[in-house]
Structures are given as structure tokens and as C-alpha cells.
Amino acid sequence: MIDPRATGYPGSNGSVVASGVRFPETTGRQIVVFADGEDDTAIDLSGAGITSVADSRDFSDGEVAADVLQSADATVFAELGIAVVSADVAQLAALQVGSASGRQVLSVSPELIHHVLRESVLEYAQAYRDGVSDLADHLLHATGHTAALVADMPQPTFADTAQATWGIQAVQATSSPRSGKDIRVAVLDTGFDTAHPDFAGRNVTTQSFVAGEPPQDGHGHGTHCIGTSCGPRTPSTGPRYGIAYEADIFAGKVLSNAGSGSDAQILAGINWAVTNRCPVLSMSLGADVMQAHPPYSAAGARALRRGSLIIAAAGNNADRRTGNVGFVGSPANSPEIMAVGALEQQLGIAFFSARSLPARGGQVDIAGPGFQVLSSWPLPTRYRTISGTSMATPHVAGVAALWAEATGRRGLELWATLCLESQRLLQPSVDVGSGLCIAPQ
């Protein structure tokens, strides 16, 4: 439930009107956070003139007694690299320049007092009622001043520019310092047009798992998805449409030129990508099957354990214009395969984007730009604009490659990173999971 005590809404000149927020109280002491040091280097505060120090390592199980916490001038929590100190201005200055111990200080901030959030059920209900009716008045009776208030509420709208497609802007790839360098991104799809001029000079490995067909993309879908996830920073013509512009591309053809593939082909592609240590696998494909398919569930789990994150399209079987919310199909509905929903330019859910299934694994985990997405297409067409959770998926895959490069994380940790770093949206989580994927800044 929304806590009405913390409701803020835009004021008339960019200010935020907050009601009922309690401002923090302090104790007068300081919390000092030290950078990671060599294993056993003690934090030694005597250089700042602080001598009455309790160190958590002097207590069994690191339990510093409560009376000691109160009476010592400083308490050092060795495992955390954090100290609580009573210090005067001169001592604080010494601490901040790191002359305390040769351990670099990351931050010094006031010790805050925290309170149990406690109130009666009646008080909560009253506050909730007042907050909701206040907001409802603004929205339902918006005239003049209040209409302006509502209009001030930020409505995101992205659009393609000459520099970059709306999706590249939305995930903040344009401002990211990362390129996906040395990160292998496997796109399992209809193959790749290796002759496309935008990919000259890139590390590209191709493999076909479709009997009788070479890796060359005879459909277009695969080239489009590789473009979104790994396209160049400056294409030969037109706006930037790709995210991990220095990633190593592993193009696995698991769908025929007619656009279809069986388990055998797709599983073979997954096996190849995992064996080749690709941290990111992008799979813009699916079957409208509600049950999680056991081989994909096993593949997803084992891939994660081996450092490969499988990212798949939630599915396009919804038509929200008629009230059909669809469902997440296979392989995205396997628990350890990340399912991606599609957003349009105002960051609302795209009308075709499938909603989470109630069963375990059937959740939409995250969302990406998936409406009117410009990307590469086999020659001579060169570029094309299409929509789908198929287009949202490589946005997430490209962003995953940037995070893999930035953090060194793989597998489940990379999954967690994508979710914690995503932009929360007002859309329900059954549609967008943790929200819009955002690139490292």
C-alpha cells in the first residue's frame, strides 16, 4: 500500500510538496566508512587522536557489548570496515584525509537515530483515506491550478532522434561508459547477415544448428536482434540502434530461414553458447505453451551455474486492446530463464506483451523497449523498424553485456544486478517485472 505520510507531488515551480516526512535526528557521533584494506590491517584511529577504541575483533563472535558501544570514543566493526566515532572537528579532518590509519576513508556521515514505524491501525487507515482522497480530488477535479499540478507530473516520452533510437536513449546506453568489450553475447535466432556494413571489423562467430541451412540470415529477425544488442556506436547511416558495440558476437542459427525451430536446434544452440562461455544468451523466440518445458528449465539452471544468463522474450500473445493479457510461453516461463516484457515509447506496456503466469517461473522479470524498434536487417534492406518482445529482449541482453563488463558478475549475480539497477515503473510488476533495464553509468 502507498504510505500517504510519504506522498509528495510536484509543486508549482519544480518544488516537491512532501507531507508528513519526519526529518532525521542525529546523535552527534560520526560513521566512518573505510575502503577495503589488506586482510588483517586493523583500523587504527590513534593517528586522529582517538584512543578509547573498542574493536569488534576483541569480542567473541564480534558482539560488542551495549555499554561499550555507549562509552568508548570509537567502536570499530572490523568485518564491515566501519567505525562509529565521537570526534571533534580536528579529529574529523584527520579522519577524512585518511591519516587515521593509512586506510582510505570513503565517507564520513552523521550517526542517525532510527525509529520503529509504529502507529495504530486506526491512525494508519485515517492517514491512508486522507492521502487517497486528496490525490483523487486533484485528479478528478483538475481545473486551472490543479490541472497544472497534474500536467507537471513527468510523463516520459521517448522518440527516435538523428543520434539514437528511442530505445537506446531509454536504457541510457548513450551515456554509459561501457561497450561490452570482451563480453561474448550469443544471439540464438535466424542467423546473421555477416556482410552487413555496420558490423565490419567486429569479432563474429557463427554456427548453424539448422540442417541444410548456413548461418547466413535468410529471414531478418536474427540480424535485427544482433543489431539491437550489439550494433555499432556509429552506424554507416542513421541513428545509433545498438547497445554493446564492442561485444563479441556469437550468432547461433537455431531458427530456419522460414522462422521455425525445434527444441533440438535451440537446445543445441544453448549448449554451444554455454560451452563457449558466453555470459549472455539472447533468445527472442518462444512457443505459446503455458507449462515450463523441462529441458529449458534444466538448461536455464545449468547455464546460470556455469556463468551464462539466458534472456528470453516473454511472448507476443496478448492483445490488451481487447482485454487479452496473454501469458508467458516457453522457454521464458522456465524459472531460471529471464523473461522480458515490451515497453512502448511512453514506458507503458506494449499491447501485445504477455503478462506473467501465476506458476513458478512464469513471471515477467524485466522489461525493455519493444515497440517500433529500428535496427539492422539483411542487405539490401539494411534497416527495419518492427515491434515485439523479440525486440525488448536484445535491449536487455545488450545492457546485460555492459553490466557484465562493468562488474565482472556472471550468472545469477548478473541477473540480480539487472533487476536491482532497473528503473521501477508505475506499470504492474506482472507486466514489467522489476522495470526498465538501465545501462551502467
Binding site: V274, P295, S387
Partner: protein, 75 residues
């Protein structure tokens, strides 16, 4: 004949399971060591026997995934 995906249990040796499946009448096409899955085909009446091979977690009919045609607006 039906196309099958056989999921191997965690900890079982994939090649040994493949041998067991062949012995029960499965035509094994791929042994995917990296992910512990075996694909191939078998006559319908053999399928239940395959599930009893030691180390088999699941026997499932293969799914087919299809994309819309290249000129479709939503893919």
C-alpha cells in the same frame, strides 16, 4: 515416431544415460553435455520405457517455435 527431449538428472553421467536410452529403443541424435539434455526420436510405444532409464529426470515431446513472417509488424 515422436521427437523427444530427454532431461538428465543433476549428477548423472550424460553419456551413460544416452546409452541407456539407445538400449531401450531411442534413436539418439544429440548428446548435449553442456546442459545435460539428450535429443532424438523414438516410436510412441517406447516412450514410457525411456522415462525409466536411470538418470532420466524427464522425457518430453519437442516443442516447435515459430516466428511471424519477415514482413510482419510484430515479431
Amino acid at each position: 515416431m515422436v521427437q523427444l527431449s530427454v532431461t538428465v538428472e543433476d549428477g548423472s553421467a550424460v553419456e551413460e544415460v544416452a546409452a541407456g536410452l539407445r538400449a531401450r529403443g531411442m534413436e539418439v541424435a544429440q548428446v548435449l553435455e553442456g546442459i545435460g539434455v539428450i535429443t532424438g526420436s523414438a516410436p510412441d510405444d517406447v516412450r514410457s520405457a525411456l522415462a525409466e532409464v536411470e538418470g532420466v529426470a524427464s522425457v518430453d515431446e519437442q516443442l516447435t517455435h515459430r516466428l511471424p513472417p519477415p514482413d510482419a509488424a510484430i515479431q
